[in-house]
Symmetry: C2
Amino acid sequence: MKFCAHCGSPVERLVPAGDNRLRHVCPACGCIHYQNPRLVVGTLPVWGDQVLLCRRAIEPRHGYWTLPAGFMENGESAADGALRETMEEACARVRLIAPYTLVSVPHIDQIHLLFRAELADLEFAPGTESLEVRLFAEQEIPWKELAFSSVSLTLQTFFEERRHGQFGVHHFSLDALPRS
Amino acid sequence: MKFCAHCGSPVERLVPAGDNRLRHVCPACGCIHYQNPRLVVGTLPVWGDQVLLCRRAIEPRHGYWTLPAGFMENGESAADGALRETMEEACARVRLIAPYTLVSVPHIDQIHLLFRAELADLEFAPGTESLEVRLFAEQEIPWKELAFSSVSLTLQTFFEERRHGQFGVHHFSLDALPRS
Protein backbone atom coordinates (compact mmCIF):
# COMPACT_ATOMS: atom_id res chain seq x y z
CA MET A 1 0.00 0.00 0.00
CA LYS A 2 1.48 3.29 -1.18
CA PHE A 3 -1.51 5.61 -1.50
CA CYS A 4 -4.54 6.40 0.64
CA ALA A 5 -7.61 4.61 -0.72
CA HIS A 6 -9.77 7.38 0.73
CA CYS A 7 -8.06 10.55 -0.58
CA GLY A 8 -5.24 9.39 -2.90
CA SER A 9 -2.35 10.97 -0.93
CA PRO A 10 0.86 9.00 -0.29
CA VAL A 11 0.59 7.03 2.99
CA GLU A 12 3.20 6.69 5.74
CA ARG A 13 3.98 3.72 7.94
CA LEU A 14 3.82 4.60 11.62
CA VAL A 15 2.41 3.46 14.95
CA PRO A 16 -0.82 5.44 15.58
CA ALA A 17 -1.45 6.92 19.05
CA GLY A 18 -2.83 4.26 21.39
CA ASP A 19 -1.70 1.45 19.06
CA ASN A 20 1.39 -0.75 19.21
CA ARG A 21 1.80 -1.78 15.57
CA LEU A 22 2.98 -0.17 12.37
CA ARG A 23 0.01 0.81 10.19
CA HIS A 24 -0.43 2.58 6.89
CA VAL A 25 -1.62 6.05 7.89
CA CYS A 26 -2.59 8.94 5.61
CA PRO A 27 -1.01 12.21 6.80
CA ALA A 28 -3.47 14.20 4.63
CA CYS A 29 -6.83 12.83 5.77
CA GLY A 30 -5.81 10.91 8.92
CA CYS A 31 -7.23 7.61 7.70
CA ILE A 32 -5.64 4.49 9.25
CA HIS A 33 -5.61 1.56 6.82
CA TYR A 34 -5.70 -1.63 8.87
CA GLN A 35 -4.71 -4.85 7.15
CA ASN A 36 -6.00 -8.13 8.54
CA PRO A 37 -5.77 -11.81 7.66
CA ARG A 38 -8.08 -13.19 5.02
CA LEU A 39 -10.28 -16.19 5.63
CA VAL A 40 -10.37 -19.13 3.22
CA VAL A 41 -13.50 -21.24 3.67
CA GLY A 42 -14.35 -24.64 2.24
CA THR A 43 -15.50 -28.17 2.85
CA LEU A 44 -14.33 -31.73 3.29
CA PRO A 45 -17.11 -33.44 1.27
CA VAL A 46 -17.67 -37.07 2.27
CA TRP A 47 -19.51 -39.83 0.37
CA GLY A 48 -19.50 -43.16 2.21
CA ASP A 49 -15.83 -43.94 2.87
CA GLN A 50 -14.61 -41.54 0.17
CA VAL A 51 -13.79 -37.84 0.10
CA LEU A 52 -14.04 -35.39 -2.79
CA LEU A 53 -10.91 -33.61 -4.04
CA CYS A 54 -10.38 -31.09 -6.85
CA ARG A 55 -7.29 -30.80 -9.05
CA ARG A 56 -6.38 -27.14 -9.38
CA ALA A 57 -6.61 -25.43 -12.78
CA ILE A 58 -5.04 -22.23 -11.38
CA GLU A 59 -1.91 -21.05 -9.60
CA PRO A 60 -0.69 -21.43 -6.95
CA ARG A 61 -0.21 -25.18 -7.07
CA HIS A 62 -1.67 -25.75 -10.53
CA GLY A 63 -2.27 -29.48 -11.09
CA TYR A 64 -2.22 -30.36 -7.37
CA TRP A 65 -5.18 -31.73 -5.44
CA THR A 66 -7.12 -29.73 -2.90
CA LEU A 67 -10.40 -29.54 -1.02
CA PRO A 68 -12.97 -27.12 -2.49
CA ALA A 69 -12.28 -23.78 -0.77
CA GLY A 70 -11.64 -20.12 -1.48
CA PHE A 71 -11.72 -16.62 -0.07
CA MET A 72 -14.77 -15.74 1.99
CA GLU A 73 -16.58 -12.74 0.49
CA ASN A 74 -18.04 -9.70 2.21
CA GLY A 75 -21.74 -10.06 2.96
CA GLU A 76 -21.80 -13.83 3.37
CA SER A 77 -21.49 -16.17 6.35
CA ALA A 78 -18.63 -18.66 6.65
CA ALA A 79 -21.10 -21.49 6.00
CA ASP A 80 -22.52 -19.78 2.91
CA GLY A 81 -18.99 -19.13 1.65
CA ALA A 82 -18.03 -22.79 2.13
CA LEU A 83 -21.15 -23.95 0.24
CA ARG A 84 -20.52 -21.41 -2.54
CA GLU A 85 -16.89 -22.47 -2.98
CA THR A 86 -17.89 -26.15 -3.05
CA MET A 87 -20.36 -25.37 -5.83
CA GLU A 88 -17.89 -23.16 -7.76
CA GLU A 89 -14.93 -25.53 -7.63
CA ALA A 90 -16.62 -28.92 -7.70
CA CYS A 91 -20.20 -28.16 -8.87
CA ALA A 92 -21.18 -30.16 -5.80
CA ARG A 93 -24.00 -29.74 -3.34
CA VAL A 94 -23.22 -30.69 0.26
CA ARG A 95 -24.81 -30.60 3.69
CA LEU A 96 -22.50 -29.00 6.25
CA ILE A 97 -21.99 -31.06 9.41
CA ALA A 98 -19.73 -28.85 11.57
CA PRO A 99 -16.63 -26.65 11.46
CA TYR A 100 -13.72 -29.08 11.51
CA THR A 101 -10.27 -27.59 11.03
CA LEU A 102 -9.12 -24.03 11.47
CA VAL A 103 -5.61 -23.64 10.11
CA SER A 104 -3.75 -20.40 10.69
CA VAL A 105 -1.10 -19.62 8.08
CA PRO A 106 0.52 -16.49 9.59
CA HIS A 107 3.31 -16.14 7.03
CA ILE A 108 0.75 -15.43 4.30
CA ASP A 109 -1.85 -13.74 6.55
CA GLN A 110 -4.50 -16.37 5.97
CA ILE A 111 -6.70 -18.62 8.02
CA HIS A 112 -8.32 -21.68 6.47
CA LEU A 113 -11.63 -22.93 7.81
CA LEU A 114 -12.91 -26.28 6.58
CA PHE A 115 -16.29 -27.77 7.43
CA ARG A 116 -17.00 -31.49 7.46
CA ALA A 117 -19.79 -32.05 4.94
CA GLU A 118 -21.83 -34.79 3.32
CA LEU A 119 -22.18 -34.88 -0.45
CA ALA A 120 -25.86 -34.64 -1.36
CA ASP A 121 -25.46 -36.77 -4.52
CA LEU A 122 -22.91 -37.80 -7.14
CA GLU A 123 -23.65 -34.84 -9.44
CA PHE A 124 -20.22 -33.20 -9.23
CA ALA A 125 -17.95 -31.88 -12.00
CA PRO A 126 -14.93 -29.58 -12.41
CA GLY A 127 -15.71 -25.87 -11.99
CA THR A 128 -13.70 -23.30 -13.94
CA GLU A 129 -10.86 -23.37 -11.40
CA SER A 130 -10.57 -27.19 -11.37
CA LEU A 131 -9.10 -29.60 -13.94
CA GLU A 132 -10.69 -32.67 -12.42
CA VAL A 133 -12.89 -33.60 -9.47
CA ARG A 134 -13.10 -37.11 -8.04
CA LEU A 135 -13.75 -39.26 -5.01
CA PHE A 136 -10.85 -40.90 -3.17
CA ALA A 137 -10.83 -43.66 -0.58
CA GLU A 138 -8.19 -43.20 2.13
CA GLN A 139 -5.66 -45.52 0.46
CA GLU A 140 -6.02 -43.63 -2.84
CA ILE A 141 -5.27 -40.12 -1.51
CA PRO A 142 -2.40 -38.58 -3.53
CA TRP A 143 -0.55 -37.42 -0.38
CA LYS A 144 2.46 -36.12 -2.32
CA GLU A 145 0.31 -34.22 -4.78
CA LEU A 146 -1.80 -32.27 -2.30
CA ALA A 147 -1.76 -28.53 -2.90
CA PHE A 148 -1.58 -27.14 0.64
CA SER A 149 -0.51 -28.17 4.13
CA SER A 150 -3.95 -27.22 5.47
CA VAL A 151 -5.47 -29.82 3.15
CA SER A 152 -2.98 -32.53 4.20
CA LEU A 153 -3.58 -31.77 7.87
CA THR A 154 -7.34 -31.82 7.49
CA LEU A 155 -7.32 -35.13 5.63
CA GLN A 156 -4.84 -36.76 8.05
CA THR A 157 -6.93 -35.64 11.02
CA PHE A 158 -10.15 -36.80 9.38
CA PHE A 159 -8.95 -40.33 8.56
CA GLU A 160 -7.36 -40.70 11.99
CA GLU A 161 -10.52 -39.60 13.79
CA ARG A 162 -12.74 -41.70 11.56
CA ARG A 163 -11.02 -44.82 12.88
CA HIS A 164 -12.35 -43.88 16.33
CA GLY A 165 -15.72 -42.70 15.01
CA GLN A 166 -15.52 -39.37 16.79
CA PHE A 167 -14.72 -35.96 15.35
CA GLY A 168 -13.49 -32.92 17.24
CA VAL A 169 -12.62 -29.46 16.05
CA HIS A 170 -8.98 -28.53 15.59
CA HIS A 171 -6.90 -25.41 15.41
CA PHE A 172 -3.46 -25.65 13.84
CA SER A 173 -0.88 -23.01 13.13
CA LEU A 174 1.32 -23.84 10.16
CA ASP A 175 4.31 -21.88 11.40
CA ALA A 176 4.80 -24.51 14.07
CA LEU A 177 4.73 -27.36 11.56
CA PRO A 178 6.95 -28.49 8.72
CA ARG A 179 5.57 -27.47 5.32
CA SER A 180 4.30 -30.29 3.17
CA MET B 1 -12.36 3.00 -1.47
CA LYS B 2 -11.92 5.82 -4.00
CA PHE B 3 -8.25 5.61 -5.00
CA CYS B 4 -5.86 2.82 -5.92
CA ALA B 5 -3.61 2.00 -2.94
CA HIS B 6 -0.94 0.86 -5.39
CA CYS B 7 -0.72 3.82 -7.82
CA GLY B 8 -3.03 6.55 -6.44
CA SER B 9 -5.35 6.74 -9.48
CA PRO B 10 -9.14 6.84 -9.01
CA VAL B 11 -10.61 3.32 -8.94
CA GLU B 12 -13.73 2.04 -10.69
CA ARG B 13 -16.26 -0.51 -9.56
CA LEU B 14 -16.72 -3.32 -12.05
CA VAL B 15 -16.86 -7.09 -12.40
CA PRO B 16 -13.40 -8.27 -13.53
CA ALA B 17 -13.13 -10.88 -16.31
CA GLY B 18 -13.67 -14.37 -14.89
CA ASP B 19 -15.25 -12.97 -11.71
CA ASN B 20 -18.90 -12.56 -10.77
CA ARG B 21 -18.75 -9.75 -8.21
CA LEU B 22 -18.23 -6.00 -8.26
CA ARG B 23 -14.67 -5.13 -7.22
CA HIS B 24 -12.66 -1.96 -6.92
CA VAL B 25 -10.41 -2.05 -9.97
CA CYS B 26 -7.74 0.46 -11.01
CA PRO B 27 -8.00 1.36 -14.72
CA ALA B 28 -4.46 2.81 -14.62
CA CYS B 29 -2.43 -0.10 -13.17
CA GLY B 30 -4.98 -2.94 -13.42
CA CYS B 31 -4.84 -3.74 -9.71
CA ILE B 32 -7.97 -5.45 -8.33
CA HIS B 33 -8.61 -4.49 -4.69
CA TYR B 34 -10.44 -7.37 -3.05
CA GLN B 35 -12.23 -6.69 0.21
CA ASN B 36 -12.89 -9.58 2.56
CA PRO B 37 -14.44 -10.11 5.99
CA ARG B 38 -12.35 -9.41 9.05
CA LEU B 39 -11.90 -11.97 11.78
CA VAL B 40 -12.45 -11.07 15.45
CA VAL B 41 -10.75 -13.58 17.78
CA GLY B 42 -11.11 -13.99 21.52
CA THR B 43 -11.79 -16.29 24.43
CA LEU B 44 -14.43 -17.45 26.85
CA PRO B 45 -12.24 -17.60 30.00
CA VAL B 46 -13.57 -20.00 32.64
CA TRP B 47 -12.65 -20.22 36.32
CA GLY B 48 -14.56 -22.96 38.15
CA ASP B 49 -18.24 -22.22 37.55
CA GLN B 50 -17.57 -18.58 36.59
CA VAL B 51 -16.69 -16.81 33.35
CA LEU B 52 -14.67 -13.64 32.84
CA LEU B 53 -16.29 -10.62 31.19
CA CYS B 54 -14.93 -7.15 30.39
CA ARG B 55 -16.93 -3.91 30.45
CA ARG B 56 -16.06 -1.90 27.35
CA ALA B 57 -14.25 1.43 27.68
CA ILE B 58 -14.60 2.12 23.94
CA GLU B 59 -17.26 2.42 21.27
CA PRO B 60 -19.16 0.62 19.92
CA ARG B 61 -21.17 -0.45 22.98
CA HIS B 62 -19.23 1.58 25.55
CA GLY B 63 -20.17 0.42 29.08
CA TYR B 64 -21.55 -2.95 27.93
CA TRP B 65 -20.08 -6.33 28.86
CA THR B 66 -18.19 -8.52 26.43
CA LEU B 67 -15.77 -11.41 26.16
CA PRO B 68 -12.13 -10.42 25.58
CA ALA B 69 -11.73 -10.31 21.78
CA GLY B 70 -10.55 -8.10 18.94
CA PHE B 71 -9.35 -8.03 15.35
CA MET B 72 -6.87 -10.72 14.39
CA GLU B 73 -3.63 -9.16 13.14
CA ASN B 74 -1.50 -10.10 10.15
CA GLY B 75 1.37 -12.42 11.05
CA GLU B 76 -0.32 -14.17 13.96
CA SER B 77 -2.35 -17.35 14.33
CA ALA B 78 -5.98 -17.29 15.48
CA ALA B 79 -4.89 -18.84 18.78
CA ASP B 80 -2.12 -16.28 19.29
CA GLY B 81 -4.57 -13.49 18.48
CA ALA B 82 -7.10 -14.81 21.00
CA LEU B 83 -4.39 -15.00 23.71
CA ARG B 84 -3.14 -11.51 22.85
CA GLU B 85 -6.61 -9.97 23.00
CA THR B 86 -7.31 -11.69 26.33
CA MET B 87 -4.13 -10.18 27.70
CA GLU B 88 -4.81 -6.73 26.21
CA GLU B 89 -8.42 -6.42 27.34
CA ALA B 90 -8.38 -8.32 30.64
CA CYS B 91 -4.66 -8.61 31.50
CA ALA B 92 -5.47 -12.30 31.86
CA ARG B 93 -3.48 -15.40 31.01
CA VAL B 94 -5.49 -18.38 29.81
CA ARG B 95 -4.98 -21.86 28.43
CA LEU B 96 -6.96 -22.41 25.23
CA ILE B 97 -9.10 -25.55 25.22
CA ALA B 98 -10.67 -25.55 21.73
CA PRO B 99 -12.38 -23.33 19.16
CA TYR B 100 -15.96 -23.01 20.39
CA THR B 101 -18.19 -20.59 18.50
CA LEU B 102 -17.77 -19.15 15.05
CA VAL B 103 -20.29 -16.39 14.50
CA SER B 104 -20.66 -14.89 11.04
CA VAL B 105 -21.93 -11.31 11.01
CA PRO B 106 -22.39 -10.72 7.27
CA HIS B 107 -23.98 -7.27 7.52
CA ILE B 108 -20.76 -5.86 8.96
CA ASP B 109 -18.37 -8.21 7.11
CA GLN B 110 -17.05 -9.83 10.25
CA ILE B 111 -16.65 -13.30 11.67
CA HIS B 112 -16.17 -13.82 15.40
CA LEU B 113 -14.18 -16.81 16.62
CA LEU B 114 -14.19 -17.56 20.33
CA PHE B 115 -12.12 -20.26 22.01
CA ARG B 116 -13.10 -21.95 25.26
CA ALA B 117 -10.27 -21.27 27.70
CA GLU B 118 -9.25 -21.80 31.31
CA LEU B 119 -8.01 -18.87 33.34
CA ALA B 120 -4.49 -19.61 34.55
CA ASP B 121 -4.91 -17.61 37.78
CA LEU B 122 -6.88 -14.72 39.28
CA GLU B 123 -4.37 -12.06 38.19
CA PHE B 124 -6.70 -10.15 35.85
CA ALA B 125 -7.37 -6.43 35.55
CA PRO B 126 -8.91 -3.96 33.07
CA GLY B 127 -6.75 -3.27 30.02
CA THR B 128 -6.88 0.15 28.34
CA GLU B 129 -10.03 -0.77 26.39
CA SER B 130 -11.92 -2.06 29.46
CA LEU B 131 -13.56 -0.20 32.35
CA GLU B 132 -13.90 -3.25 34.55
CA VAL B 133 -13.15 -6.98 34.41
CA ARG B 134 -14.84 -9.52 36.64
CA LEU B 135 -15.99 -13.10 37.06
CA PHE B 136 -19.68 -13.97 36.75
CA ALA B 137 -21.56 -17.11 37.75
CA GLU B 138 -24.35 -18.04 35.32
CA GLN B 139 -27.10 -16.44 37.42
CA GLU B 140 -25.12 -13.18 37.60
CA ILE B 141 -24.61 -12.68 33.84
CA PRO B 142 -25.91 -9.22 32.84
CA TRP B 143 -27.82 -10.58 29.82
CA LYS B 144 -29.39 -7.22 28.94
CA GLU B 145 -26.06 -5.42 29.17
CA LEU B 146 -24.05 -7.65 26.86
CA ALA B 147 -22.33 -5.78 24.05
CA PHE B 148 -22.80 -8.11 21.09
CA SER B 149 -25.08 -10.90 19.90
CA SER B 150 -22.07 -13.14 19.34
CA VAL B 151 -21.26 -12.83 23.05
CA SER B 152 -24.84 -13.61 24.12
CA LEU B 153 -24.95 -16.63 21.82
CA THR B 154 -21.62 -17.95 23.02
CA LEU B 155 -22.58 -17.62 26.69
CA GLN B 156 -26.04 -19.14 26.18
CA THR B 157 -24.53 -22.08 24.31
CA PHE B 158 -21.81 -22.54 26.92
CA PHE B 159 -24.14 -22.64 29.94
CA GLU B 160 -26.57 -24.91 28.10
CA GLU B 161 -23.84 -27.37 27.12
CA ARG B 162 -22.22 -27.23 30.55
CA ARG B 163 -25.40 -28.75 32.03
CA HIS B 164 -24.72 -31.83 29.87
CA GLY B 165 -20.97 -31.74 30.43
CA GLN B 166 -20.17 -31.91 26.72
CA PHE B 167 -19.05 -29.13 24.41
CA GLY B 168 -19.30 -29.04 20.64
CA VAL B 169 -18.26 -26.41 18.14
CA HIS B 170 -20.89 -24.15 16.66
CA HIS B 171 -21.31 -21.97 13.63
CA PHE B 172 -23.98 -19.29 13.74
CA SER B 173 -24.89 -16.61 11.23
CA LEU B 174 -26.36 -13.53 12.83
CA ASP B 175 -28.45 -12.53 9.83
CA ALA B 176 -30.68 -15.51 10.52
CA LEU B 177 -31.20 -14.58 14.17
CA PRO B 178 -32.90 -11.75 16.02
CA ARG B 179 -30.40 -9.20 17.31
CA SER B 180 -29.95 -9.12 21.06
